[in-house]
């Protein structure tokens, strides 16, 4: 019997992941993440915020490579994880996907917003 059983440590993810290009912006109210995910439809895109970690994962629709005359890209599995320093209002996270570009709004938790403190004249 030469059947191998994969232990938990051995059972690694054998998939190849591509890193999507990302822009990150911030203002007083929110952090804005813009990720480039061409070929990923909305139902194949997963955005998760857990434990101060933002995970963006998306899968490109497969295509028939048999009929290809030239290939410069293959169906790709995108994945990128960011550690977010600021406290985020998790319930108000919003995302949209337009022309293969995902825009993710991470509103800051009210207590972390910068406030200008008025100094009262003595």
């Amino acid at each position: 019997m030469s059947q191998t059983t994969k232990t938990a440590q051995e059972a690694t993810d054998e998939r190849f992941y591509a890193t999507p290009s990302v822009d990150i912006f911030e203002n007083n109210d929110e952090i804005l993440v813009v990720a480039e995910l061409p070929g990923v439809s909305a139902n194949k895109l997963r955005i998760e915020f857990h434990d101060q970690q933002l995970t963006i994962e998306g899968e490109q629709s497969p295509f028939d490579r048999e009929k290809a005359l030239g290939l410069e890209f293959l169906p790709t599995h995108y994945r990128r994880v960011f550690q977010v320093q600021q406290r985020v209002d998790v319930d108000k996270i919003a995302a949209k996907l337009e022309q293969g570009v995902a825009t993710i709004h991470l509103p800051k938790a009210p207590e972390t917003k910068a406030r200008t403190i008025q100094i009262k004249p003595a």
């Binding site: 290009s21 990302v22 822009d23 990150i24 912006f25 911030e26 203002n27 804005l32 813009v34 480039e36 995910l37 061409p38 070929g39 990923v40 439809s41 629709s61 295509f63 028939d64 009929k67 290809a68 005359l69 030239g70 290939l71 410069e72 890209f73 293959l74 996907l97 022309q99 293969g100 570009v101």
Partner: protein
């Protein structure tokens, strides 16, 4: 051949000049790939790289493709040349930039043979219909486009890997197409162009006549 030149703020760099002879067409075609890059002083100022590629004509077989071995080495050699040239000039070498190799060919394209049609798919994330123009003749197809990426008003940028860009990419098609029957769709940042092959290149069934006896 490489020419580096300062034009005001912009670094003007002609990347490659290749001469090709198409045996079938009996004519020479010169391919010029031009890059315009903004001067960068540090990694931090790299963010919005203005990038322009002007590929006049690429023969399909010469593209940096996954299933063509030799052009891959050619591309690699070119990249090594540029790496050293950039280092000599004190630039941040292109392969070390954040967008890495992806910037070399933009947009990335796949070409499929679907029998009666050719299908070209291009990755153009962030581009809308109005930012794209497609021109075709029987043998070549050109896609032009422009994308502007700006930090939204009132936001500061922590990281900018997506560049504003302007591109023009021409592809010499393997067979003649019927220009009247070209359709294009844009979905999820993928531009799909379907081109009906010209009638004369489609296989025709030849009737065999039996001589009546």
């Amino acid at each position: 051949m490489d020419l580096g030149e300062n034009k005001g703020e912009k670094i003007f760099l002609t990347r490659s000049l290749q001469e090709l002879t198409f045996p079938r067409q009996k004519q020479k075609t010169i391919i010029i790939t031009t890059y315009y890059l903004d001067r960068v002083d540090s990694i931090d100022s790299l963010a919005p790289i203005q990038k322009m590629e002007d590929t006049m004509l690429t023969r399909w077989g010469n593209l940096y493709g996954l299933n063509h071995t030799l052009p891959v080495f050619d591309e690699l050699r070119q990249q090594m040349d540029h790496l050293f040239k950039d280092l000599e000039r004190g630039w941040v070498p292109a392969p070390l930039r954040r967008e890495g190799l992806q910037a070399r060919t933009w947009p990335k394209a796949n070409l499929f043979d679907q029998g009666e049609r050719l299908l070209l798919t291009l990755q153009v994330p962030g581009l809308k219909e109005e930012n794209l123009t497609i021109e075709a003749n029987a043998e070549n197809l050109t896609v032009r486009g422009e994308r502007k990426v700006q930090a939204p008003e009132g936001y500061r940028a922590h990281r900018q890997e997506r560049a504003s860009l302007q591109f023009s990419r021409s592809i010499a098609l393997p067979v003649r197409i019927d220009v009247e029957r070209v359709t294009a769709t844009l979905q999820d940042g993928i531009l799909s162009i379907e081109m009906a092959k010209a009638q004369e290149v489609l296989p025709r069934k030849i009737e065999i006549h039996t001589s009546a006896k």
